[in-house]
Subunit: 200 residues, 4 copies
Amino acid sequence: MPKVGMEEIRKEQVITAAKNCIVSKGLSNLSMKDIAAQAGVSTGIIYHYFESKEVLLMQVLKSSFRQSHEKVMETVEPLNPPEEKLMKHLENINLVPKDNPEYMTVFLNYMGEAIHNPNIRAMVNKLFKNLTDYTGNYLQHVTTDEQQLKNLPMMIIGFGIGLGTMWTLNNELYDIEEMDELLKDVITSYLAIKNGGDNE
Amino acid sequence: MPKVGMEEIRKEQVITAAKNCIVSKGLSNLSMKDIAAQAGVSTGIIYHYFESKEVLLMQVLKSSFRQSHEKVMETVEPLNPPEEKLMKHLENINLVPKDNPEYMTVFLNYMGEAIHNPNIRAMVNKLFKNLTDYTGNYLQHVTTDEQQLKNLPMMIIGFGIGLGTMWTLNNELYDIEEMDELLKDVITSYLAIKNGGDNE
Amino acid sequence: MPKVGMEEIRKEQVITAAKNCIVSKGLSNLSMKDIAAQAGVSTGIIYHYFESKEVLLMQVLKSSFRQSHEKVMETVEPLNPPEEKLMKHLENINLVPKDNPEYMTVFLNYMGEAIHNPNIRAMVNKLFKNLTDYTGNYLQHVTTDEQQLKNLPMMIIGFGIGLGTMWTLNNELYDIEEMDELLKDVITSYLAIKNGGDNE
Amino acid sequence: MPKVGMEEIRKEQVITAAKNCIVSKGLSNLSMKDIAAQAGVSTGIIYHYFESKEVLLMQVLKSSFRQSHEKVMETVEPLNPPEEKLMKHLENINLVPKDNPEYMTVFLNYMGEAIHNPNIRAMVNKLFKNLTDYTGNYLQHVTTDEQQLKNLPMMIIGFGIGLGTMWTLNNELYDIEEMDELLKDVITSYLAIKNGGDNE
DNA sequence: CATGAATGAGCGTTCATTCAT
DNA sequence: TATGAATGAACGCTCATTCAT
């Protein structure tokens, strides 16, 4: 009898149920009863797996971030030339709200909480760091200007978060493919001028 | 006897109290009792001025947006050369989270609600439209490329919202003055290449 | 300036407004604000004329009973032969819910309160006594049997109250004219047998 | 482990508690807190068994009506000659306010609500129909006149409701045994004359 | 006299959490 | 493990009553 791992499976079940509830009804309308019903378990058992609602909510966020991260890795890393990696990365950033709207929804639902809840805040900041680090890595291979490497990744991620927010709240605001092209264009122009200027 | 406007003053009092509560404790921990205590009034009187908690919350958002808008107008509009206006505008966008952290806090607290609450969503979308329209206006005088005018404003605002979010959650993430310079640089580079390319 | 009586007029205005509110929305949904709005006055002034909501409610009941009483007097008393008076009285009893549905509505709304509120209870009991006394008076001229005079009036009034209640809650339950005929028939039959039996 | 029916027992407990509260303090002074205290449970659990206060209140009325109905069935149905059944029925009608004062109290408390609450109104009307139907059944065996069968039952029930109301508000108004005799006398006289007249 | 802003206790209801089974 | 009945504090909201104007 494969009892080992059963607990993890159950936990994942509850986390997924909670995520679905957040996506469909919002974090502020999330009740343990709803989660239990969605997961097909009793409310009591949730407390066997998670200390409290807050702990469960942390795990939901963690799981969301992990899934998103894995997705990025799968599509960007296999590519070879550094420029291609960067471009694919920029494309990914633009596509998040369309390809993974649930991710953006969860993210936005936690934003307000992040300000006052140190645990959530720390987790979100860790995500920001991860994202900028990866972007920095990809940039590292197409430029050598230290100053650029410092702030440009943050700017790119900021752009992704901001436009993702806007598109999630109104997906007729802009055409994602067009925006993708613009972003690539803007970044490329900037790098060209900077690197070109250096070369001359 | 200056009775006229008394109601508006009282309403503003309550709205300000609610805003303070949101900033200090978060939207999800906001109770009418807290607001009343913060405003120094009874819970009952709030319902004399506002139909419901939801209506009050809408007014809080509206008020936040209006104040932010006024601030921008004051600093950008008096300037004269279009390039200066655009640069001041970009600077303002970068400075929002530092100069007006309460504004960003309120904004972030409403993001999660905006997804499922149509009224809040509509108001946030209206804000996005306003912001991009203004940015478009300033860009209009430094470029003539229609395609750029379409998506570049959105990109700039997206950048402002995203970086504002990141900085609000971790104000050691980057130096605002440096980021300001980078943004101006990136936008200027892009416009230079595009306009330069057109001229040739 | 005819100030005298002004107070009474105002009071009547408020009482009428309260009655209208009870009829249209029910006693349990009656608020002082509603009454004030309906009467076209402020809530404050109501407390100038009536000590409390309860006192006002008493006056509403009193007024209702008085109006109903006056109506009966107008139609029954002018008639001359005693039998005619009794028959007209029985007819009136049957017609109350149709001719004066507002009276029945007010009455029914106060029934529950009468049980626990001694003042209302006393007033309702006084009404019952009035009604049975009048019925007794009319009967007095068509029979001499003391025992009949004791309980028959109560029975007749009980019938009026009960059927009035039923008809008010479902005015398709029976035809009022038919019921009128039946009541007259039943009472006449009973008196005929009793008086006839006595005579023989 | 007798788990089955436990829910029904609990529900009945709460309904009984609510009924007791209505009897002792009145429907208009009935709070969920009172009911919970009277039932010896928490306020929260009531909402586990009943959707809302209104639903609970409906069940209270239903339960009251059912109990009253059962009582009538027990005493009337076993009797054999039809005349005896009718007389016992008339007796029962007279005895309700004395034997079952709580039933009358509950009934009177709901009267005002019945006018504006469609659900209560429907339930009360159903009770009226039941009562008149039963009365009609008993009459059916002692008379053949169709017209009598149509309205006489309603008249008898109206009488019961009206006098029950009066007696509940003042139980010194009349002697129930005397009134019982009078009612039987009146009905018997009427039927005698009608049937006698038919026979001639 | 008259207003209506202001109070605050109390309402019906919800829900995170516990615990007997 | 697993259930869901049970708790009770806290919520949004109402409204009889008061009082400064």
